[in-house]
Amino acid sequence: MRSRRTVIALLLAPAAVGRAEDPAAPAPVPEAAAPSGTIATAPPEPAVAWSRFSVHAGWGYYEVSHAGASYHLGPRAALGLFGGWGLGRSEQDGTLGVSYAHAVLAPAWGWQPGWAAKAIYWTQSDPNYDWKNLSLVLGPRFVADFGDGLRLALDAGVALTFALESDRKQEFNFGSPTRWNGSVCLEIEYRLGGR
């Protein structure tokens, strides 16, 4: 019996990268008005008051097609939740995961380096088994900031997978989740708030 393709759409958090300031910090106080009789200068551009929340969607090897939301703990760290569902040829049914992403060093050539760790619960039903598995993924992460709160995040890492539960439906094929595997994930993120 195939498992229900129930998926919760929540999402991963890309690191708050490429920002010189904490986006959650209060906007800077404007300078004092110019004295009377002098030529007034243009007022400074008001700082963008980004929310601490972002949403994202993308595709990953274990995440499959997914969407979710993140809470940015600071300018460099974010905690996310996401849910996904298998599309196309994927036999993976559903995914529910948590993630932590952290930016490190300074952006280079438009990409902010960092790392990400994820715990992904996923189910799969195929003619041989019904699976409930847990994958732990750790690896580098790179984020490109397109401005206006829009970013592209790419992470690739090593996945360690355990079978939480398996129900073999036949007596012919025997298998288990690949213990160590590669994983890659591409996401579009939109930071809530701002102009």
């Binding site: 274990y62 050539w109 088994y129 790179f142 398996s166 007596e171 288990s176 690949t178």
Partner: protein, 287 residues
């Protein structure tokens, strides 16, 4: 690192990713004619204390073979024993753990009131090779949990098993069961022909894959945790592995397991064969 490099690294990882589920490839073999081994030497309710030379000699006299549990002392000597702890003759007082005790500290508790309490594997092999040289002996190699992870002990146990098998000319007559990866890797890597089985406590599938990854002979399956019938056994043989089933004592279980044709069955029941319902089923080997 440039974006191009990052993308290339990610692409390389993606391309190197394997299937999420690994299925064992077909490698059919013929099942052994089912061998029935007496559990813990002479059975849980046998006339002798379990895991002793007397129990082994008794078990070997009534069934196809014997299963015993094995521990290692601080001297690297293999002793028969189910628990890591060595008990005094009152069977209550704990003297210490095998792995922490010298042989000289275990030996005072080896005989109690003129009866065997603990036996060494080397003396067991020395005796059985003379009396029952064609019998199958299975060593259940226990994890060493008294201290550390027991990795060194696991390797030492594998080396000592291989040495004793070779020294006593018991090639092919001794098999091992364990859940210790270090032990199994070591014994598989040794040149000594000792069939090796991964202990399967919760299910068949994970240990079967582990057995394949380790190059072990098969799995040692705790009966009852999931259904077992002739189809499952045939499926395991189809992927080139064997199965040991334990511990089968109830008459209805004996009949059911016998019909499934596993390679080895362990029992505490000396009259096992009287509950099988007759002759062994035909073996459906393919190689």
């Amino acid at each position: 690192m440039s974006g191009a490099l990052a993308a290339a690294a990610a692409l390389a990882l993606a391309l190197s990713a394997c299937e999420k589920i690994e299925y064992l490839p077909p490698d059919p073999l013929a099942g052994w004619p089912t061998k029935v081994l007496m559990h813990r030497g002479g059975g849980a309710d046998g006339p002798y204390r379990d895991n002793t030379l007397d129990a082994v000699l008794y078990g070997a006299s009534v069934l196809d073979g014997v299963e015993v549990d094995v521990q290692i002392s601080k001297d690297g000597t293999l002793w028969l024993g189910h628990d890591n702890e060595v008990h005094a003759c009152d069977d209550v007082t704990v003297v210490g753990c095998f792995q922490d005790l010298l042989d000289s500290e275990i030996e005072p508790h080896a005989t109690c009131g003129g009866t065997e309490h603990y036996s060494r594997l080397d003396e067991v092999f020395a005796a059985v090779k003379l009396v029952y040289p064609e019998t199958l002996y299975s060593l259940d190699v226990k994890g060493q949990y008294c201290r550390a992870l027991g990795v060194d002990e696991a390797r030492a146990m594998a080396d000592e098993v291989a040495r004793l098998v070779a020294a006593n000319g018991l090639d092919g007559k001794v098999m091992v069961e364990s859940s210790q990866r270090e032990f199994l890797e070591r014994i598989v890597a040794s040149a000594t022909p000792v069939p090796s089985f991964v202990v399967a406590l919760d299910d068949i599938d994970g240990p079967l894959s582990a057995s394949a990854n380790l190059g072990a002979t098969g799995i040692s399956f705790k009966y009852g945790v999931e259904p077992l019938d002739a189809g499952v056994v045939a499926g395991i043989h189809r992927v080139g592995k064997r199965i040991v089933v334990w511990t089968i004592d109830a008459p209805e279980d004996i009949a059911a397991v016998w019909a499934a044709q596993p390679d080895v069955v362990q029992t505490d029941e000396p009259d096992f064969m009287s509950y099988t319902g007759g002759a062994a089923p035909a073996q459906a080997g393919t190689k």
